[in-house]
């Protein structure tokens, strides 16, 4: 009924989708799985009209269609239930449901609120939600909002004649088990009218609800399995798509870390609303991975160590000295470097060149009485360009024009050249291609050898297991389990998952 044929989508420096084929039958539920960066969200955006494919075609009932925006896709019956909820929280439920489609209730230029409330009730009934349509959205629970999202998309039933295709992006991530059951039963009930594409990290749920499962990796569909023959292990293997050999994560280069006094220690550190009573020590040469789901407090811990958030209780010490003042300036001065997840926004300054970016955190080292020593900056930059094999025509090239991997190298060079020996890496390989990832892994090993202590939030669990000496599993801001002794034995994926969810 709905089909994608050979869809390609290229972003500067990345092939996000290549030759993707996908078919959805009437009333079918298909699952879409893949690692972060495998191309799932790009594919979803192509389907609901937010992106236009560079080549390939989209067909509905054999007719080729082209959407230049999500609204046009909606007119063809394609709706999206967003993971990050798209409801506007200070509007009422019914205003949200009919946002952009209020015209049907307008009489003499004025909205007939009663009619809208009636219609909203009918929509809410579809998802078995008995709430007042004039309630302000912010007063609802997350699960209720998720159902309102679905109800909003289901208004397509009345507006569109043909079949519907509804995308569900991680709809269960904020739901409790019984809410997930409810959502699934609603989805199953709706199959007479709509087909669904279900995206989730929770493999059991994907298996439970989907008729067929599309497995994506590096922008391609690597396999399509039907539920009867699906097997979690096999799918996960395909998602990763390679024998996870020791070479990939440079495990043969991993050495024991120093047993001297720790570089950094946290004692019962809490930030209210983010994480509580987190304690650990970081030693020279150690790679310590914080593992958990989104919102488990991993990033917040990094940002607290870097002085961007202030602990509400507990003590943080750097080289045995308690930290009294929390600010990024103080952290940088104490030898802490931070490689943020949002590389293009927080990592590099686009519009500044390579050497300007490298010395940004250490202008004091390259200036006297505030006057810069530009030739010194350039010399350092050239040295690090050589050392890390950064692909750039010169140190004068705008950093915004480098590829992701090279940008990341510039960020790492910034901290390394400034002598930081505590590095906080937040998803350092996110969005990088395999070669660039391996470069980052090499650099991590090299830094460990040089006595740098690294706290890592990895892009995937395999990466965490491959790189770490120590793993701390977090859930809802609380450390659940610590894994040590990686040189002799590593935990499995399931050991970690078990404590994460």
């Amino acid at each position: 009924m709905y089909a994608l044929r050979k869809i390609d989508k290229v972003f500067p420096g990345v092939k996000a989708l290549s030759a993707v084929d996908l078919d959805i039958g009437r009333g079918e539920i298909i699952g879409l799985v893949g690692e972060n960066g495998a191309g799932k969200s790009t594919l979803m955006k192509v389907i609901y009209g937010a992106y236009q494919p560079d080549s390939g075609s989209i067909e509905i009932d054999g007719q080729t269609v082209r959407f230049s925006n999500p609204r046009q896709a909606m007119h063809h019956g394609i709706g999206m239930v967003f993971q990050e909820q798209s409801l506007i929280t200070n509007l009422t439920v019914m205003e949200n449901i009919f946002l952009g489609y209020e015209q049907q209730f307008v009489r003499y230029g004025i909205i007939d609120w009663k009619a809208m409330a009636e219609a909203a009730k009918a929509q809410l009934a579809k998802v078995k939600l008995a709430i007042d349509p004039s309630a302000i959205t912010s007063s609802l629970s997350f699960a209720q909002r998720q159902l309102v999202e679905l109800a909003k998309v289901l208004t397509l039933e009345e507006r569109v004649d043909g079949d519907l295709v509804i995308l569900l992006d991680e709809p269960t991530s904020v739901l409790a088990r019984e809410e997930v059951e409810l959502l699934f039963s609603i989805v199953r009930d709706l199959r007479n009218r709509a087909s669904f594409i279900f995206v989730s990290h929770r493999m059991e749920e994907v298996l439970e609800i989907s008729d067929r499962i599309y497995v994506m990796k590096d922008g391609e569909v690597v396999d399509v399995v039907s539920r009867d023959v699906a097997d979690i292990d096999a799918i996960q293997h395909k998602m990763v798509g390679r024998e996870i050999d020791k070479e990939y994560y440079r495990e043969q280069l991993q050495k024991a870390y120093s047993d001297q006094a720790p570089l950094l220690s946290l004692e019962d550190v809490s930030v209210s609303g983010r994480f509580s009573n987190v304690s650990f020590d970081l030693h020279a040469g150690e790679v310590l991975c914080l593992v958990g789901t989104e919102g488990s407090g991993r990033e917040a811990i990094l940002r607290t160590i870097f002085g961007m958030e202030h602990p509400t209780s507990g003590q943080l010490s750097v080289r045995g000295k308690p930290v009294a003042r929390f600010s990024p300036q103080a952290a940088v001065a104490a030898g802490i470097g931070y490689t943020p997840r949002e590389r293009k926004v927080e990592g590099i300054v686009a519009g500044m060149n390579v050497f300007e970016n490298m010395t940004l955190s250490q202008l004091g080292n390259y200036s006297r009485a505030g006057v810069l020593n530009v030739s010194g900056e350039r010399a350092t930059a050239r040295q690090w360009i050589e050392r890390l094999a950064i692909k750039t025509p010169s140190e004068h090239k705008d950093c915004g024009g480098l590829s992701g991997g090279n940008q990341q190298k510039v960020v790492l060079a910034k901290w390394r050249s400034g002598g930081s020996d505590i590095l906080l890496l937040d998803h350092p390989t996110r969005g990088l291609d395999i070669g660039a990832k391996e470069d980052v892994y090499d650099m991590i090993r090299e830094m460990s050898d040089a006595g740098v202590g690294i706290i890592l939030v990895a892009d995937t669990l395999e990466e965490a297991i491959g790189l770490a000496h120590t793993i701390i599993v977090l859930k809802d801001g609380v450390a659940q389990q610590r894994f040590d002794g990686f040189l002799t034995q590593k935990p499995s994926l399931y050991d970690l998952l078990h404590h994460m969810i």
Binding site: F306, G347, G351, S367, G370, V374, K414
Partner: protein, 313 residues
């Protein structure tokens, strides 16, 4: 050659094209003595725009400069007798302080700079009105000449005003390109979040940028006051729009991070040429602001970096 490559060269191309057009229509425009005096006339505006460049370079704006200059004309006139040439220090310090307060409000209290500087501008205006008793004040000619007469002399045919402007431009250029402060300004303008994550004291840098803007407005007000030999709470009215136009047509966009003080020098000359053209075309003085208002919107439309702005309100 792509549009993006040409864009940085727009300002000086515009200047040359406009200058040539005006010169063809009115050959007396190229008369050197006339050009020098035209240029000397825009010196107070240029200095104000030079300061404003710092505020815009970090992605903010300073709407207080005109009122600061108004206030300083009054301060200079009132206190000249008492302090002599040292009144200059008071004038610059007053501008610097008010700019710093705007900067503090912007960074620490999260008041957007267009509001904080607008508000501080009214504070300055009020100070001017209070100090002047809402009257136009005049400097004692002898005192003025004794302290500041040198400003309007010539050396080898070059008016000292132009030398002052050149020295300040050099100073601002040095600050922008050769100091760690200037580098930090660029980082804040081009990527504030990355500047924060690099451990820069972004708040201090921003406060300083607004303070410098205020300080330059103080210098502009002082020169203007000495030039007209008096002070008045409305003396510098009409400067604000022109100063913003000078910065923006010079090629420093409202989104910050690119352009800089040399661009503002070119921008000010463009403003000068446009003014000369309007005089030649006999556009009434009352209509000039209308034209500059439209030029401002066009200049912003052409220069702004839309990728940095997701929502404009």
């Amino acid at each position: 050659m792509s549009m993006e490559r040409i864009k940085p060269h727009f300002p000086w191309i515009t200047l040359i094209v406009l200058g040539t057009l005006v010169g063809i229509a009115n050959p007396s425009f190229f008369n050197p003595a006339g050009l020098v005096s035209l240029t000397a006339d825009v010196v107070p505006l240029f200095i104000m725009a030079l300061g404003m460049t710092f505020a815009i370079y970090i992605g903010g704006i300073d709407l207080s400069v005109q009122q600061l200059a108004n206030m300083v004309t009054v301060i200079a006139t009132v206190y000249l007798a008492q302090f002599g040439i040292a009144v200059a220090v008071i004038c610059i310090a007053a501008g610097f302080l008010i700019g710093a307060i705007s900067g503090y409000a912007t960074t620490r209290l999260y008041v957007p700079s267009f509001v904080s500087t607008l508000a501080m501008g009214f504070v300055a205006l009020s100070v001017a009105k209070y100090l002047s008793g809402q009257r136009a004040l005049y400097m004692d000619a002898e005192l003025r000449n004794a302290s500041f007469g040198w400003m309007f002399d010539n050396t080898a045919g070059v008016p000292h005003e132009l030398i002052i402007a050149a020295v300040l431009l050099l100073l601002a250029w040095f600050l922008q390109t050769r100091t760690s402060f200037g580098r930090s300004l660029k980082a804040v303008g081009a990527g504030e979040l990355a500047a924060v994550a690099s451990g820069l004291n972004v708040n201090r840098i921003k406060i300083l940028a607004f303070a410098i803007s205020g300080g330059f407005a103080g210098i502009a007000g002082l020169i203007f006051s000495v030039k007209l030999s008096g002070g008045d709470a409305n003396l510098a009215n009409g400067f604000l729009l022109l100063a913003i136009v000078a910065v923006l047509v010079g090629g420093t966009p409202l989104t910050g991070g690119v352009g800089g003080v040399l661009n503002t020098a070119i921008g000010t000359l463009i403003v000068m040429v446009i003014r000369a053209a309007m005089v030649y075309l006999e556009v009434a003085a009352t209509q000039q602001q209308m034209i500059f208002g439209i030029i401002l919107i066009i200049a912003i439309g052409l220069t702004i970096d839309r990728t940095k702005l997701r929502i404009v309100k």
